[in-house]
């Protein structure tokens, strides 16, 4: 590994200062589970590495009446152990408990997962269906973007020179809302998704009609994909197998996978259908309160 300078800022201001002085060869370090491995493999060669673990804003985890603020550097472990997240956002637990083993979850962060921008990243589809907003801070001020617009290609994001991801704002679920994440891997754990899918659904109090539904899929396109075409198919429709299958069909059509060592185009398209259907059924179950 090439050598570099290690910096440990204690405030957001200090961090942004260091970033602008580090120039374009600086990289942020959260849990390091992507960065350290990439640097060792020579795929990333930053001259300055800025550790985010002591910056308050990036480690915030708080709730107000309508929203959860989840700092970019909050670990999967903290997410999984937070009773309010367990209660309100089981779909986040679904994916955060799947990232690596215990040891990886103890370090890996949701911000790192998003900024690493892998097509197969497991937390991004869930963040998308939960309508998470990414709070970005840069030399020219702050901005907020929906997570589905954040990744622009494998390893590519909309972050511009010296911008950083600070946190996510995620609206608390409405009544009768449920969300679910699922992935397919060949082993039972410790694998990169061949395909993954998340769904969220709001149903009427009768428990029979869909008010709103969102679907996002991963590992089947250059970026995790929000499948907006599913929404009109679901809203106002009854909760029924054919409706869900129709949504899954649309998701399969939106998938633009490639063949690589982990899976083939056909397999990934097929899996997208299966996973979206299972994710929607899981979300419905949660919306009905029978998790």
């Amino acid at each position: 590994m090439r050598n570099f300078d290690y910096k440990l800022p204690t405030s957001l201001n200090e961090l942004t200062d260091m970033l602008s002085h580090g120039g374009h060869t600086a990289r942020l370090l959260a849990g390091g589970t992507d960065l350290v491995v990439a640097m060792r493999g020579g795929r990333m060669t930053p001259e300055v590495v800025i550790d985010t673990k002591h910056v308050e804003e990036l480690n915030e985890l708080s709730f107000n009446d309508h929203t959860m603020i989840l700092g970019a550097s909050v670990t999967c472990r903290k997410v999984c152990r937070n009773p309010q997240i367990v209660k309100h956002f089981p779909a986040l637990i679904d994916c955060a408990t799947l990232i690596g083993g215990t040891q990886i979850q103890n370090r890996a962060t949701l911000g790192g997962n998003l900024c690493n921008a892998a097509p197969s990243a497991d937390t991004i589809p869930a963040l998308i269906v939960l309508k998470a907003q990414a709070n970005i801070c840069g030399p020219h001020g702050s901005r907020q973007v929906p997570v589905e617009t954040f990744c622009t290609g494998p390893g590519q994001t909309i972050l511009e020179g010296n911008e950083i991801l600070v946190s996510f704002s995620i609206p608390l679920p409405r009544e009768h809302e449920g969300a679910f994440f699922i992935r397919f891997i060949p082993r039972n754990d410790m694998d990169i998704a061949i395909a993954n899918a998340a769904a969220s659904i709001v149903i009427a109090s009768s428990g029979e009609t869909i008010i709103e539904g969102r679907v996002a899929i991963g590992a089947v396109a250059p970026t995790p994909l929000y499948v907006s075409d599913v929404e009109p198919v679901l809203s106002g429709r009854p909760i029924a197998d054919d409706v869900i299958a129709q949504a899954a069909d649309i998701a399969r059509q939106s998938a633009r996978p490639i063949t690589d060592m982990r899976g083939t185009v056909d397999q990934r398209k097929h899996l997208t259908h299966v996973l979206v259907r299972r994710a929607l059924n899981g979300a419905v179950n949660r919306a009905r309160g029978n998790d």
Binding site: M1, R2, N3, F184, P186, R187, N188, D189, M190, D191, I192, D260, M261, R262, G263, T264, Q267, H270, L271, V274
Partner: protein, 757 residues
């Protein structure tokens, strides 16, 4: 061949004492390959070929040499061209040591992605790596040959203009530009097939897999001022490493001392040199000790995997279920240099059935992949997969119970083997009956898309040379030193045999693994042979010790040695039974009666007990994704005599889980240009703790008369039947016949779709 009278009651053998090396292993004190440091030590790194097949036009090391912190840079030019390169490997054939040398560092051509081209020694590993990347190599690219069938096709690119067919169990003869061949036959196959009522012929392919030991390859070498070389390494055979180093470096074997450190797994893959000669020459050039550590990616790219194969087999059976004829054709990858496991692979393909008419043909095929190395029962898993799934198909066709069918055709003691000799004592029938009587076989599977599969497996094992030293101390404790590295508790299994023979307690024996300067020659810890063959050396040394101690007792009592009765660790004067020494008492008198006693035995036993096993598996298939879940697994195996039953169980469980990995997910994934894509343990998918249930091991004991306590090897055969058992269970569950390994979810899904389309 010795036939031993096996004592009916054993005192130590069959118990489960704690291994003496265990304490250091649970406290982190045990010294594995990388845990060894020398003052002033440099760190070496290798530059490896990014191409699968290319001619080296030039190598420019100048930028690396001047990089700050670099002390030495070597290429093939720094190694001797070996003058007497052909080594006789006895009945197995011949080995070309130039191939061994070229595999360590490429000379004119690189033959696989990851082939070593140059190496650097520097102050630390980071500097060495940076410097190695500054070496410029100019290549002329050649077409890669990536599988056995394209290598055997007309007009295939030729890897080596000339090659010596390699040696492994039996010799092969050059038959094609990229392949050598071996043939075995018994009876008259065409007459046999004429007799058959049903004949099936099937084709199979299996992918390259790796042994997957968790510790990679690591070596530290020191070139001494007087030309003496010392090497500390993690290996299955210190003598093998020494001999290979001496031959490729043209040094006297006695000038090299190889000190074996603890070994973090090998499974056959740590029996030969890779970075070792590079470290030695880097040390010579720098005048400093040099350590080299292979990364996981290097280990996957450039160390011995096991062969991918292409198999075509034909079986003929009578309507009553009698197998009458078989033809087996197996083409096994050798990798970049000849000498893969084709001979043991094809010769075990059918051995476990008594089939009168057999024709076997095996090809050892050169491809642009790393030179293959043994992996637990080398070659047997693919051939077993082919034959056992065909047997399952025949059972269904004939509506015969799979256990009954196998019982009907089982190889029995004395039946003639295709290798030409009669089968020694074998407990196959007992194994199959144990399956029938087991609760697992009788249980209901329950649930949709669930199935059960059975497969029957066989492996030879081996004897080969082993040495053991015993020394009696005046306090009655005994030092045991063997030449066999301990990969999984053999210190204790050897100590137990010494204790049994000497009539003392296992914790009075202090076992160690000797280096090449301090113990007699031993073949590697391979082929399930240590507890068996080194055990016999220990037994023989113990007999020598007892005889010498009896002489001392006789001397003390002034009687003839014949009058000493040795009984359970006591030495009794037969003419006056009041006179008696315990082992400890007599040990205390040795110094005064002629000095301490030691014994060395070098054994090369022939009475190898064959390994026979049956595996039963239940699984569930997610028919929408192709994912397989193993629900229940029972492995039945004949251990001859389980010296330490816990370790035997461990061997069965570990080998089975490796077999499950081979069956379902493990494979080398090369792209079209011959680059290995899955060079990490994330994508080379070995089973995790969540992928397997408890493997229930049922141990049977039909003693091997070739060992004083009835021991037969146990380590290898567990990897043989899992793939076939799982394939048969898949058929039972969802009606698909798999003919490729690994049976990944994608392939299962494809097969499912093809039957529903």
């Amino acid at each position: 061949m010795n036939d031993y009278v096996i004592p009916e009651k054993l005192r130590v053998v069959g118990t489960t004492p704690i291994r003496p090396d265990g304490h250091d292993k649970v406290t982190g004190r045990a010294k594995f390959g990388d845990d060894f440091h020398l003052p002033g030590m440099l760190h070496g790194k290798v530059l490896r070929s990014p191409h699968a097949h290319a001619r080296i036009k030039s190598i420019d090391t100048s930028h690396a040499e001047t990089f700050p912190g670099v002390h030495a840079v070597v290429t093939a030019a720094d190694f001797p061209k070996i003058s007497s390169n052909v080594i006789d490997a006895g009945e197995a054939g011949q080995i070309d040591m130039q191939d061994v040398a070229d595999n360590c560092i490429a000379r004119e051509k690189v033959f696989y992605d990851g082939h070593a081209v140059a190496a650097v020694a520097a102050d630390n590993a980071h500097i060495a790596e940076e410097a190695a990347n500054l070496i410029q190599v100019d290549y002329e690219l050649l077409d890669p040959v990536m599988d056995v069938r394209s290598a055997m096709a007309d007009n295939a690119t030729v890897l080596h203009d000339n090659f010596l067919p390699g040696a492994f169990l039996a010799p092969t003869e050059k038959a094609l530009p990229n392949a050598s061949k071996l043939e075995l036959a018994m009876g008259d196959v065409s007459a046999g097939f004429d007799e058959a009522d049903i004949i099936i012929e099937r084709e199979f392919t299996t992918e390259t897999v790796h042994q997957g030991y968790i510790e990679t390859h690591i070596v530290t070498a020191q070139w001494g001022a007087n030309g003496m070389v010392t090497v500390w390494t993690t290996t299955q055979g210190q003598f093998a490493i020494r001999d290979q180093l001496a031959l490729v470096l043209e040094l006297p074997m006695s000038a090299i001392t190889v000190i074996p450190l603890e070994i973090g797994g090998g499974f056959g893959g740590k029996d030969s040199i890779y970075i070792d000669p590079l470290a030695v020459v880097l040390s010579k050039q720098s005048g400093r000790p040099v350590k080299m550590v292979m990364s996981r990616a290097e280990t996957l790219r450039a160390t011995g995997p096991s062969s991918g194969t292409y198999i075509k087999a034909r079986l003929g059976v009578k309507i009553d279920g009698t197998l009458v004829a078989a033809e087996f054709h197996g083409a096994y990858e050798a990798g970049a240099y000849s000498g893969g496991p084709v001979a043991p692979g094809v010769s075990t393909a059918l051995t476990r059935y008594n089939i009168p008419n057999v024709k076997i043909e095996g090809y050892d095929v050169l491809v642009n992949k790393p030179k293959v190395k043994p992996y637990r029962a080398p070659g047997a898993t693919p051939s077993n997969f082919a034959v056992e799934t065909m047997i399952d198909e025949l059972c269904r066709e004939l509506k015969l119970d799979p256990v009954e069918f196998r019982l009907h055709n089982a190889l029995k003691t004395g039946d003639r083997l295709v290798l030409g000799f009669p089968c020694p004592e074998i407990g196959g029938v007992e194994i199959l009956k144990a399956v029938q009587n087991h609760a697992h076989y009788q249980s209901d599977i329950g649930g949709p898309h669930r199935g059960r599969g059975l497969a029957y497996g066989f492996w030879f094992g081996a004897g080969l040379p082993s040495s053991a030293d015993l020394m009696v101390n005046s306090d009655g404790t005994v030092q045991l030193c063997s030449g066999s590295p301990d990969m999984s508790g053999t210190r204790i299994t050897l100590a137990m045999q010494a204790a049994e023979a000497l009539g003392i307690e296992p914790n009075d024996i202090f076992p160690s693994v000797g280096d090449t300067a301090s113990v007699g020659y031993s073949f590697q810890t391979v082929a399930s042979r240590t507890t068996f063959a080194t055990g016999i050396a220990v037994y023989q040394a113990a007999q020598d010790i007892l005889a010498q101690m009896a002489e001392r007792a006789a001397l003390i009592w002034q009687i003839a040695t014949d009058n000493i009765l040795i009984d359970g660790g006591r030495f009794v004067n037969k003419t006056n039974v009041q006179q008696c020494f315990t082992f400890k008492e007599l040990a205390g008198k040795l110094v005064g009666t002629g000095g301490p006693i030691a014994a060395r035995a070098l054994a090369s036993p022939e009475g190898v007990g064959f390994q026979i096993t049956a595996h039963l598996v239940d699984l569930a298939v997610d028919t929408e994704t192709g994912k397989v879940d193993i629900l229940r697994y029972t492995a039945f195996q004949d251990a001859g005599k389980a010296v330490h039953p816990d370790f035997v169980e461990g061997q069965i469980q570990g080998g089975t889980v490796q077999g499950i990995g081979w069956a379902l997910n493990e494979e080398y994934f090369y792209d079209g240009a011959g680059h290995l894509k899955n060079t990490s343990l994330l994508d080379y998918r070995m089973p995790t703790i969540l992928d397997v249930p408890n493997i229930e091991a049922v141990i049977l004991e039909r003693p091997n008369p070739g060992h004083p306590y009835g021991v037969r090897g146990v380590g290898e055969v567990p990897i043989v039947p899992p793939a076939a058992a799982i394939a048969n269970a898949l058929y039972d569950a969802v009606g698909i016949r798999m003919n490729t390994l690994p049976m990944t979810p994608a392939k299962i899904l494809d097969k499912l779709n093809s039957i529903t389309d």
